[in-house]
Every structure is written in structure tokens, then in C-alpha cells.
Amino acid sequence: MARISVEVDGIAYEDEVEPRLLLVHYLRDRLGKTGTPIGCDTTNCGACTVLLDGRSVKSCSVLAVQVDGCDITTIEGVSSDGVWHPVQKAFHEEHALQCGYCTPGMVLASIDLLKDDPDPSEEAVRQGLEGNLCRCTGYCNIVRAVRRAAQEMRVTTP
């Protein structure tokens, strides 16, 4: 067993974990953060995407012991004081989800993308989200939502 201390969605945790425990299992089974789904379990689909020290990673491909001392943001930590993140709001308004399974990963990958590129073209959004699969194939609305969120974020944070 290894001891880790990690901050998840603003709360500090200290835990004993088996080295083989994957981050996604730690989040879901230990911390109860089931907002992060397990999709393919093969580093393909991006459903389990979280932010690790601010950058998107696939939490099925990171060991919990590797994030000792790090800061994790899951979909459960992106709203603040009950107010949705602009990306969440835009996904809602553009109907950028059908079954919703890929949505947490899409939202977190989008937040990461918008940090680098506050005004992405349609092509840039498609490239930036290439690691996230939507098996309902609802990509058009997802791209629209990300660009809408970008616009809103530019207005609210000039």
C-alpha cells in the first residue's frame, strides 16, 4: 500500500491505495465521484477525462499513486456555488448530448482546449476533442456548444 494526498474538486484527501489502483477507480469507488464514467477502459474514448493540475488526462490511464500531491478536477468540481461552468451551460443550451455518457469527458476536454485557444475554429474544436468519442455521434452540437462557451467566456472574462 502507498500513502497519497491529493486534492479533488477542492477537497484534500489522504488515502492508502494499492499501487495498481487506477485513478478512475479511486475517484469512483473510494471518493464516490461517479460523475466520471468508465467508457472503453482502453485509453480510447476519453469518457473518464479529468483535469490533472489543470490539463486533461484519461483517468483510466493514470495510477492513483502517480497523482500524489496533485490537484484533480472532475465534472463534479467545475461548477461553482451552484452556477454551471459556461461550458456546461453551452452544452445544455446547444443540446450537445444525447445519452450523456461522453459528456463529462467532453466538458473537461473542452475546458482544457479553451485555456489554450479562447476562440477556436470549428476545425480546432474537432482537433482538440479528437480524444473524446461520442457514440451517439452528436459531434455537430458539441462543436457548436464549445464555440458558444468560448464566446460567452470571452464576454464574461475580457
Partner: protein, 291 residues
């Protein structure tokens, strides 16, 4: 799936890592970003008894301009490589190919040295290492040694790294002015391995091709240098219709491509010729200004 159990070590210096690795037994593996290794563990295709996590060893990370070459530390992430002004200026082919590795989330974790040490002929970077004659810097408890890229890739997922040796970084020679570069990759989705990939570097003088280097991805159990293309392209007029196509016809010569769900060997050979042509044309068009 859940990986099998292993002991986990997280040294903070290279010396400590070498000591732990040497004492951790034959089935120990070095872990960096884990983007190739952890999927293998999860599928239970690999059963290391111990993992030596070098992710926090600061001296293994970063890009440095060393005069005639660029040193890329083994645990520098793909994302850091792509963003590095030194890499973009002096090793554009590395930046171009690395930007096609998997997807952004994987590039945030996966490392330059990890991808090379993994020695997957379907990975994008081994072919680039071969085309650019990179030099691998390796350390063990007995000291440093260097391995030229041409001697590094021995077989499928098998490199020249010996037990107890850790890849510390890679030297990428600066090629100088007059070169153009391109990485052409054919794959189904971002996360899929290249069905075939072609790394090309072309040096021209006044429109005449002086020198060509071509590395092929996924055309055999190791990355392959397309020597036939390199010889055939020398001296041709890059702008003359069909001249580069003719050279690219040699691309599949001497290759032994795998058969899998995505492509049979004959189709891969066809792809190698077509993609090599595209890569040569693009590399010729994107040459750096002659200074």
C-alpha cells in the same frame, strides 16, 4: 480491467532510480507517463513485478539547445515537446510527428523517451528517430553510454536497453539550413496506431534534391529506413512532375509489414508508396529558408 499487483517505487533522483531499478529484479519496468505501459498492464499483457516511476525525476525532463544538437529529456511530455520553441526551430520534424501522437489528453501524460523506449514500430516517434539519426543516451550503475537510433530498435517492442539501464534522453542532431520536413500518417482515428506513417526530410539546392531521409512507421517489426527512396530521390528536380513519385515507388522495398485487422501487408506496401510520395512533396514545399 485491473492490473496485476506490483511493487511501486518513486525515486526523486536519477541515482536513486538506478539503484532501485537495479535491485528491483528482472521483471521490473520503468514507468514514466504510462500511456503505453498502463494499457498493457490493464489488458494483462504485461506483468511487471515492480514499477520504478521516474515521473518525478527532474533531471530527466526538459529540452536543451546543445549547439550541434537538441537534447530532449526522456520524461519530457509530448505536449512539452510540441510547445518547445527549441524543438520547433531546430527539429520541426519532431514537432510535426509528435503533434500527431494519439490525442491531447495522452500527449499531456505520455513522454518522448517513453514512446521511444517502448520500441513500438507502430508508434510515430521511432521512425522519426531513425530518419534523423537521433542518439539515445542511456545510464546504468556503471555509467553512461550512447546508442545510435539505427542500433536501438531490435525487434517488436524490443530495444537495445539492457537490464538496469534507463534512457535519460535523446540527442536530435540539428540538420542546418535547406531542409524541409513532413510526417504523413494514415490512421482511422486519433487513438489508433498509424496503419502506416512516413517521416520525411528533404534538402534541396535551387530545386534539386540533394539529400533525403525517410523513416517508415509500422512497416515491419522495427521502424524502417527507406534506403531505396533515399537513393532514388537524390539529384532529382523536386518540382518536375512525377520525379518524386518515381522515387517513392521504392518505399516498400525490403519491408516486412504486419497483417492485422486494419491492413494486409500488400495494402501497407501500397500505402507506404503513396504516403511517401505525399511526404516528399510536402517536405519539399516546406523547406526552411536557406541562410
Amino acid at each position: 480491467m485491473i492490473p496485476a499487483s506490483f511493487d511501486y517505487f518513486r525515486p526523486s533522483t536519477l541515482d536513486e532510480a538506478l539503484e532501485v531499478f537495479a535491485g528491483a529484479g528482472e521483471e521490473a519496468k520503468v514507468l514514466a507517463g504510462g500511456q503505453s505501459l498502463l494499457p498493457l498492464l490493464r489488458l494483462r499483457l504485461a506483468y511487471p513485478t515492480a514499477m520504478v516511476d521516474v515521473g518525478r525525476v527532474a533531471e530527466l525532463r526538459g529540452v536543451a539547445d546543445r549547439g550541434d544538437h537538441v537534447h530532449i529529456g526522456a520524461t519530457t511530455t509530448h505536449d512539452e515537446v510540441v510547445r518547445s520553441p527549441i524543438v520547433r526551430e531546430h527539429c520541426p520534424l519532431v514537432a510535426l510527428a509528435t503533434a500527431t501522437v494519439a490525442d491531447p489528453a495522452v500527449r499531456h501524460r505520455g513522454t518522448f523517451g517513453g514512446s521511444l523506449a517502448h520500441a513500438d514500430p507502430a508508434g510515430d516517434l521511432p521512425a522519426v528517430a531513425l530518419a534523423l539519426d537521433m542518439v539515445f543516451v542511456v545510464r546504468s550503475s556503471t555509467g553512461d553510454r550512447t546508442i545510435p537510433a539505427a542500433d536501438f530498435f531490435l525487434d517488436y517492442l524490443e530495444s537495445a536497453l539492457q537490464p538496469g539501464e534507463i534512457l535519460t534522453g535523446v540527442r536530435v542532431p540539428k540538420l542546418g539550413p535547406g531542409w524541409g520536413f513532413h510526417y504523413e500518417k494514415f490512421h482511422r482515428t486519433a487513438q489508433a496506431w498509424a496503419t502506416v506513417g512516413v517521416a520525411a526530410a528533404v534538402r534541396q539546392t535551387n530545386g534539386t534534391v540533394e539529400e533525403v531521409r525517410v523513416g517508415l512507421t509500422n512497416m515491419g517489426p522495427t521502424p524502417v529506413r527507406a534506403a531505396g527512396v533515399e537513393a532514388a530521390a537524390r539529384g532529382v528536380e523536386a518540382g518536375r512532375n512525377g520525379s518524386l513519385r518515381q522515387a517513392a515507388e521504392q518505399a516498400a522495398e525490403g519491408t516486412d509489414p504486419p497483417a492485422d485487422l486494419h491492413a494486409q501487408p500488400d495494402y501497407r506496401k501500397h500505402l507506404a508508396r503513396v504516403l511517401t510520395h505525399r511526404a516528399l512533396v510536402s517536405a519539399s514545399a516546406h523547406r526552411s529558408p536557406q541562410t
